[in-house]
Structure formats: C-alpha cells, structure tokens
C-alpha cells in the first residue's frame, strides 16, 4: 500500500509527481472539476454551516478510501459538536481508515500529520485562524507528500478576499426554495455553477456502500 512509505519522502526530500484525481462519482461535479480533485493540491470551499453541505465532500473521501485505500483525516474546529459515526458510515465512509480530531490550531497541534504522507486526504473543517502563511505551508506539504488538503470555510468565499496558495476555490450553498445544492467555481477551473439534488448524493452513497 502506498501509504506505508511514511516519512520516506521527507528523508529523500523529493517531490514526486502525483497524477491521481479524487472523484466524487457525481458526473456534473467531476466534470466541473475537470476530472476531480487533483492530488497534491490545496482546495478551498465556501460552505455555510448547517446546510448539509459537508455531505458533498463525503463521496470524494469514500472513493479515495475505496479506490486507493487512502487514510482520511477530518479536522473540525467547531466547538460543541460531535461526530455521528453511523451517519458517516451510511454515507460510505470507512471508519477504520478515517480519523477525526477537534483542533482550532492544527498547524501547531497536529504538525507531524502534515509532514507525512500517511493521511492522503485531509479536511480542515471550519478551522479558525488559518492564516496566509499557514496556507502556504499547507500547499507546500500537499505538493511534497501528495496530500489532498481541503479547507472548508464556514462562509462563502469572495474574490476580494483571495487566496493565492489554493489552486481551486469554490462556493457551495443550499437553495432552500428549489432544495438543491449550488456549487460555483471561483478559481482554478472554468467559472460555472451547477446544481445537485441531495437525493443524488444519497443515491450515490447507497451505490458506494
């Protein structure tokens, strides 16, 4: 398994090429992303909290676990919430190769995890105080260790508040009227907006399970 080469890359100080793409399985989303999320890249998603949008991330994680046997780390920075593991399991997440951690300062508290290629998919969900230099550091590590680092922001992203270190920036929001999830590309791919029905997500999870 590729994840066994723990820290070997660090010793060699080499940045290999990672050509894999993480697919969600949702045709519209994958084609909007030109074939999925690229390994070794940092992506930033504007995802208002409480609209069920995080479910959009799970197909990427489930496929990465199923297709490539990747370990996944979900770092959550929101206080007073806990993980509901059965719900994650029902959405095709393999809990055996998933670890969760609550941290408001992962760059300090979880430093070693970013300096190894063990967790190939890392989601930073609503981590506060993630500064520009942190993003620079994360982008470099993602490139070096072939990690896919996904930053989920609790609000929508804007062009005014850009981020030079992320290759891909998207906004997601839930349209309560039409009951659809809208995904809009801000940076990194051709500007487009697509709509996804929550029922499509549920059907996709059932298929993966």
């Amino acid at each position: 398994m590729e994840t066994n080469s723990f820290n070997r890359l660090q010793e060699l100080k080499l940045a290999p090429q990672f050509n894999r793409r993480l697919l969600s399985g949702l045709t519209a989303l994958d084609s909007m992303l030109d074939g999925g999320l690229t390994e070794g890249e940092l992506s930033e998603w504007g995802m208002p909290w409480g609209q069920g949008l995080r479910e959009l991330m799970l197909p990427f994680l489930a496929r990465a676990q199923r297709d490539y046997s990747y370990w996944v780390l979900w770092v959550y920075g929101r206080q007073h919430v806990a993980i509901n593991p059965w719900a994650w399991h029902a959405r095709a997440i393999d809990l055996n190769s998933t670890r969760f951690v609550y941290s408001q300062d992962p760059m300090q508290e979880l430093r070693a995890l970013f300096l190894s290629d063990f967790f190939r998919v890392i989601v930073l969900d609503q981590v506060p105080h993630l500064k520009e230099e942190d993003c620079q550091h994360l982008a470099r590590n993602a490139r070096t260790y072939g990690q896919s680092i996904i930053i989920l922001r609790p609000g929508l992203l804007t062009h005014e508040q850009g981020n030079i270190w992320t290759r891909l920036r998207l906004n997601c929001h839930y349209d309560f009227e039409s009951q659809r999830i809208a995904v809009h590309v801000l940076k990194g791919r051709a500007p487009r907006t697509i709509s996804i029905f929550p029922s499509d997500l549920a059907a996709l999870s059932r298929n993966i399970v």
Partner: protein, 477 residues
C-alpha cells in the same frame, strides 16, 4: 480447564476486556517472574514470602485483544497459553478477575484446594472456590492488606478476635455466608480495616463499583531494576527551547546506550526533572500514547522531543517567563516502560504496516486522534464508541448493517447533549424523519419523533418526546 476459561463466542467485547483486568499468580522463580512482566508493564509483588504477583492487564488489553483476534483465538485462552509458555509446562496457581483483590483471594483459594492453572472468576470453579473461602485465608489476606496499608497489628488482632467470636456465635463458617452484611455495620462493630477488606471482598454485594474497587486497592508498582536515567548540569542557564532541544536530544541518545535500557524496550512515561536558577525543581511528566522506541528514533529523537516540547510549553514556559529564570540542570528518567518480550520477539511488532505508522504519528502530535466504532443501538447518542487507541482498528467490522437505512437520514454531526428547541416565526418544519423508541427505563420517555427543521437557514435534527417537548440533537453540517 480450557472449558472453565473459555468464553462464549457471543460475549460482548467489553466483557472480554474486563475479564482480563487482573491476574494473580504464584511464582517463586525470579526469572519467570521477570518474564511475567511481558504480559503487562504494570505488575505488583503482593507478598514477598508468598511470591504472589498481581498483573494489571488493562495496560495492554488492546494489544492482547488484537493479537488474539489475529490468531482467531479467544483472548482468555490466548493469555492462558502465554502464561503456560512462561511456566514451560510447569504447574502454577493463578486466577483472573475483575479486581485485584478478587484475583488475589481466588488464587489463594485455588492453591489451598490444589486447583492448578489459571482460574477465572466468572467460571463455575472460580465461583465455588470463592464461596468456599475459609476464614483463615480471609484473615491472612486481611493481615497482608493491613501490612500494605501500614496499619498496626494490634488493630487487626483486636478486630479479628472480636469478629471471630461473633462469627462463632452466629455459626458462620465462611465469609461468603455473610456477604450481604453491609460494610457500615462491619465498620461499626469491627473497625474500618475489616470494613474495607469486606467491601473489596464482595464489591457487588456491597454496592462498590468495579472502578472504585480497583482504585481502593493498595497498588504498588513492582520494578525489577533501577529506572534508566541521565543527568545534565549546564555551564550557562538556558531559556530558549531551541538551545534546550539540542541538549535534550543528546541526552535521549545517551539513554539509549545505557545498560539498564534494552533496545527492545518501549517507553510509556518519561520524567524530565528540571532545576531552575533559584534551585526550584519542576518535574515534567511526558506521557506517550503508544509505547515508544527511543532506539528506533535515534539520533533525531523527533517524537520524544515533540512530546517534551508540548509538555514544556504546557507546564513550564509560563512559569519560566514569570519568574525570569532559566534552567541550570535536569535529569531525564524513564518512569515506565514496556519490557522486551523474550518469547515472541517484540511486543509491539515493528512491521511497516499502517497501524505502526499511525501509532508513531499519534505519539508526535499534541491532540489525540478520534476513532469511532459502531455499536448496534438505535439511539444516535448510544450508537458508537469513541476509541482512543489505534489498536482497536478492526472493531467496527463486527457491527451489522441493520441501522444503515436509518443512519442515512441522520445528520453528520450531533450535539453532545440534546438542547431545548424553541420554535419561532422563522422556523420551518421539515419532513418527518423517523419514530424511535426511547430508553424508557432510563429517561422515562417512551418514544421520539424526529423531524428535519430549518431555522435561520440552519438544518437541525430535532425530536419531540411524548410530553410534546422539542429537543435539538444534531445538525446537518
């Protein structure tokens, strides 16, 4: 004997853990006694003259469970097999129980009656032996307890004579016959020493919880040799972590070449005792989540230095700056280590599998990673276990898929405690989700009706109990 020890295959996992909590074993051979430490780093020599040793299996329970599962064996049988190997086929007297005191009494009873091997507390033989425990054995154990607690003999003798007379008059031939006698009554008539031992002897009957019965026990860790330790006296006082780190690295590497610290041994607790300019001494305890090999991390010692750094920042950096003082000397001592396994090569196999990598990483970070296993429970809050150790990685495979359709409609995030939900004008009642039976024997409520509510553009997982009260239990992140 195997039949006595074997567990039912359907035994719940928690029960298996508890079954192995404590082992009491008579072992007069010093070499074998040292090897017994391979079962767990936490052992105790109860009585010198008797060579009765106690082993706290909780320290390594995950490892034994994992190893037994890999071999497709019952964990009790697997441990019994290990003990038989240590004794190389010789007979021995031993007992396994939930608490150290019960294990100790059972081992003594087994020796008295001549039942060899490892006898389980829950087995029929174990229960019968404890039922038949004589007053002589009980008083003997009581005397040893008093010795451990440094209680004068006079107190014990006084209590013993008073209680013996009372028991003779009552016609009570064995302690078990009076197991329901409340300990406050015993305390009033025969003193607190006897009452304490009485509680430990019959914890369930006396309403003593298992964890209390364990903490109550006068445990004294057994050490075979002096703890490996290195000292450093500095030429100049040091304040900056960068300069301290370099010297600490040297010292950790010095520890690796000490004769008292074997290459196969793994450290669990390290103490860094620092001395400041004003000669104040601060002990900083560094705990490792998984047994860590200093030898393998040589010469960088990255893992240990990271943990020392976290502990230093947490415990000392504020004090150092407020006192405006620096370090002038220190001592690094290995307080607890997992011994080398003589029979099976390494206790913590240094294979390059994912778990080994994960354990190394977990030792390097400040926050513990959370790992969840599923349990077959219909209530969301009771449907999982949060595990601390990576060794339990295969546990979730045991769960069935009965709750998948139910879980598919539930939210990804829960609130640790259900909060009162207040409806306002902006609240939109969403779809009815599910009707679930509540645990009425605990809460008094019989059922819950779940809905997906939207409030201020936030989708909540809300339920209504039988009284019509609304509670928010989760959020669709």
């Amino acid at each position: 004997m195997a039949a006595v020890l074997s567990l039912s295959p359907s035994s719940p996992r928690d029960q298996n853990d508890e079954i192995l909590a404590f082992i009491a074993i008579f072992c007069s051979n010093e070499k074998q006694a040292d090897v017994l430490q391979n079962l767990s780093p936490k052992t105790m020599l109860w009585v010198d003259s008797d060579n009765l040793r106690l082993i706290d299996m909780r320290a390594c329970s995950d490892f034994w469970r994992h190893s037994a599962r890999q071999r497709g064996m019952d964990v009790s049988l697997y441990v019994q097999q290990q003990i038989s190997e240590i004794f190389a086929g010789e007979d021995y007297y031993g007992a396994a129980a939930f608490t150290p005191w019960e294990a100790l009494l059972l081992a003594k009873a087994a020796r008295e009656k001549g039942f060899r091997g490892l006898i389980h507390f829950s087995s029929r033989l174990g229960k019968n032996l404890l039922r038949g425990l004589s007053w002589d054995l009980w008083w003997e154990s009581c005397g040893e307890y008093a010795l451990r607690k440094k209680i004068p003999d006079s107190l014990l003798n006084k209590a013993k004579s008073a209680m013996s007379i009372a028991m003779r008059r009552l016609g009570c031939q064995r302690p078990e016959q009076l197991r329901t006698l409340p300990s406050p009554h015993i305390r009033r008539r025969f003193g607190s020493l006897v009452a304490e031992v009485w509680q430990l002897s019959f914890p369930e009957r006396q309403g003593l919880e298992r964890k209390d019965a364990i903490s109550f026990f006068p445990w004294e860790a057994y050490t075979t040799s002096q703890s490996p330790c290195v000292k450093r006296h500095l030429d100049h006082e040091l304040r900056e972590w960068n300069s301290i780190e370099e010297l600490l690295r040297e010292d950790l590497n010095r520890l690796c070449v000490l004769g008292s610290f074997k290459k196969e041994e793994r450290i669990l607790i390290l103490e860094w005792r620092i001395v400041l300019c004003n000669l104040q001494v601060y002990p900083i305890v560094i705990l490792f989540r998984h047994p860590h090999s200093l030898h393998q991390d040589c010469p960088s010692q990255r893992t240990a230095l990271l943990q020392i750094n976290y502990a230093f920042e947490k415990n000392f950096s504020l004090k150092a700056s407020s006192l405006e003082t620096g370090l002038i000397s220190w001592q690094i001592e290995i307080m607890e280590k997992a011994p080398a396994r003589l029979r099976q090569g390494s206790l913590f196999h240094e294979s390059s599998d994912d778990l080994q990598c994960l354990k190394q990483l977990e030792n390097m970070i400040k926050k513990p990673l959370e790992f969840f296993t599923l349990s077959d429970d219909w209530l969301a809050e009771d449907s999982f276990h949060k595990e601390a150790s990576s060794l339990s990685v295969e546990a979730s495979e045991e769960s069935t898929t009965n709750y998948l359709p139910l879980a598919a409609g539930r939210p990804l995030f829960l609130y640790p405690d259900a909060q009162n939900f207040l409806c306002d004008q902006l609240t939109r009642v969403g779809h009815f989700q599910e009707r679930t039976m509540d645990k009425w024997w605990k809460s008094g409520n019989r059922s819950r009706d779940y809905y997906r509510m939207t409030q201020n553009e936030t989708m909540l997982w809300v339920y209504r109990d039988q009284q019509g009260s609304w509670y928010t239990q989760g959020i669709y992140g």
